[in-house]
Each structure stands twice: as C-alpha cells, then as structure tokens.
C-alpha cells in the first residue's frame, strides 16, 4: 500500500537515510496557523475603511476599495488558478505540502477581505452613479456581473473555503493523510476553469461599464 503521508511527524526535523546510506537532515515541518492572527489588525483596518467609505459616501474611499480590491481579487485568482496551480501540481507531495502550509492560511484572510472590499464598495458606487436604474445603459451589464459574482460566491463559500480550511486542519496533524489532502485539493483544480472564466467575464463587464 502506498504511504500517502505528507512530511514527517517531527516538529524539530529528523534524519533519514538517502540512497547512498548517508544521513540527511529533513527540514522541520512548518507550524500551521489556520488563521494568521498577525493579519487580523490589517483586516480590521481595511474593513474599517470600507465601512467609513460606505457610511460617509466617501467617493475616493469607495473607488479605492473597489479598484484596489477588485484588481487584487481578479489578479490573484487568475494568477493562482492559471500559473501557480499548474506549477504546484507538478511538484513533489512534500513540496506541495510545504507551499500550501505557508500559502493557504494567508488566503484565508486575504480573499474574503478583498471580496468584501470589492463588492460592498462596488454596489455603493453603482447606486451613486445611477447604474443600477433600469433606464441606465449599464443596468444589463451589472445584472450579468451580479450573476458572475453569484457563481463565484457559491464556488468560493460552498466549495473552496471549506476545502481550504479542511486541508489546513489535516496538515496540522502529526501524520497528515495525503489522500484526504489530495481529494480536497482536487476541488481547486476542478473549479479553477470556472473561476478563471468568471474573472475574465468580470474584466470585460467592468471595462465595458466604465467606458459607457
């Protein structure tokens, strides 16, 4: 039976014997913090800026949240799905595990924050500009963007985020089960195409709305 364990159970590293019989030091597995606590104050500041922007109808704040959040959301989604993901798929299991252990906790904080920044400010901007009115030439485009965001929300909240957190819990175990991690990570591969397509659609819709 194939052993699908990822990494070793040692927190401080251990010695293994290579093919030539020489002992080599295996680097210790990183300690995984599921939610990086150091990032929480930054999230709080960003959300505070978002709430203030909406509360005071602060035009620059709304634009900043929508443009910066949207650009990062789309950019990160496409880069991770189309560039990082395929590279990760060709790495060894231990390399994948080490990368994921450092990468995924950051995504737990980063992506929901970017999504909140983009959507909340975007709705407010559309309302202020009158783009949501049925008479607006942008109305139909915004309705399509709602559907696009809806599809991405269901994928993110119902499929990817649960898998992300479940993988992190699995990786915290002394002997993580590679089979479970592999099964959960497949969700990212299956949905990368849909998410990529939705993000490209978002780019088309938003540039279209901005130019009308």
């Amino acid at each position: 039976m194939t052993d699908t364990r990822v990494g070793s159970s040692s927190a401080g590293g251990l010695l293994t014997h290579g093919e030539n019989g020489v002992s080599t030091a295996v680097p210790p597995r990183p300690v995984i913090q599921i939610v990086p606590l150091k990032g929480l104050p930054i999230v709080a500041v960003v959300l505070g800026l978002l709430i203030a922007s909406i509360g005071f109808n602060w035009e620059w704040g709304l634009d900043f949240n929508h443009v910066a959040g949207g650009a990062l959301w789309t950019g990160i989604d496409l880069f991770v799905g189309l560039v990082v993901g395929p590279i990760l798929g060709r790495l060894s299991i231990s390399a994948r595990a080490e990368f994921s252990a450092r990468f995924m906790p950051k995504m737990v904080l980063l992506m929901p924050t970017l999504v909140a920044m983009t959507l909340a400010s975007g709705f407010q901007i559309a309302l202020n500009l009158g783009n949501l009115k049925a008479s607006s030439p942008n109305h139909a485009w915004l309705m399509v963007s709602f559907v696009v965001v809806g599809v991405m929300a269901v994928i993110a909240l119902g499929v990817l985020e649960p898998a992300n957190i479940a993988v992190l819990f699995e990786m915290r175990k002394p002997q993580p089960n590679g089979e479970v991690i592999g099964k959960l990570m497949k969700r990212f591969i299956y949905t990368a195409g849909i998410t990529g397509l939705m993000q490209v659609a978002t780019l088309i819709i938003m540039t279209r709305v901005a130019s009308q």
């Binding site: 699908t4 364990r5 909340a120 709705f123 309302l127 949501l132 809806g150 119902g158 649960p162 002394p174």
Partner: protein
C-alpha cells in the same frame, strides 16, 4: 466503515459515508444568492417580494433538513465541528452585518429589509455549517480498527 489508507494514522476515515450536509448547504446557499441577486437587480426600487420570500423559505427548509441530518450523524468529530463552527459563525455574522449596514444605509426599509435580513441570517448560518462540517468529516474518529 472502511479505511483505504490505514497507514495514514489519526483514524482518518477516507471512505466513511456521511449525509450530504455540505451539498445540501451549498444548495441552500445557491437559493439565497439567487434571492439576493433578484432583490439587488431592482435597486434602488423595491423588488417584488414573492420570489425572494419563496427562495428564502426553500433555503430555510434545506437548512432545517441539514440540521436534522447533522443531529443524526454518527462518527463526526463534533469537537472540531464546534471549534470551526463558532469562529466561522463569528466571521460570517460580521460579514452579514456589514451587508445589512449597507442596505440600511441605502434606505432599505419595511418588508424588503425583513426579507433581506432573513436571507442574511440564513447566509450567516449556512456557510459556517458547510465549512465546519467539511472540516469535521475529515477529522472523524475511527470507530473500528478493522
């Protein structure tokens, strides 16, 4: 219960069958998202409420069915379920509160606000349920060693 990888340790059951809580939760989430899109598509006017009420009611039925299935579930890592559940619930209550704040700020009142609030409650309960169940099902304790 069968284990496809007993060498993996930690009693992880990779083939244990659980009720489709995550799938049903996602279906309930889809109904809420469709209802939200329907209401937002009418902004700044008030949307007719029959469709969103129907969608929210259907979502509530799915959530109730999910809770019943969860209660009957055996072998789930309940400690992990509640650990993840309480923190994700906190974060999604904050997210739902933020959305509610935006709609109140935009003068949403009366029936639409009630329907929207109900949908946000369903959203704030459903997502943590999906996340905590997904974590707990893979942390399940092996009950037999064979």
């Amino acid at each position: 219960m069968s284990l496809s990888n007993p060498a993996a340790g930690q009693g992880v059951t990779t083939q244990q069958r659980f009720a489709p809580v995550a799938e049903l939760g996602t279906a309930a989430l889809v109904l809420i998202v469709v209802g939200g899109i329907f209401m937002a598509s009418y902004a700044p006017r008030h949307a007719p409420l029959a469709v969103p009420i129907g969608l929210a009611a259907a979502s509530a039925v799915l959530l109730a069915a999910n809770v019943v299935m969860l209660i009957r579930t055996r072998g789930l890592a309940w400690d992990k379920f509640f650990l993840v559940g309480r923190w994700t619930l906190l974060s999604y209550v904050i997210a739902a509160g933020l959305i509610e704040f935006a709609f109140v700020k935009d003068h949403t009142r009366g029936g639409p606000l009630v329907v929207l609030s109900a949908m946000l409650v369903l959203f704030a309960v459903n997502v943590p349920l999906i996340i905590s169940f997904t974590v707990a099902r893979y942390q399940s304790v092996r009950r037999d060693a064979s």
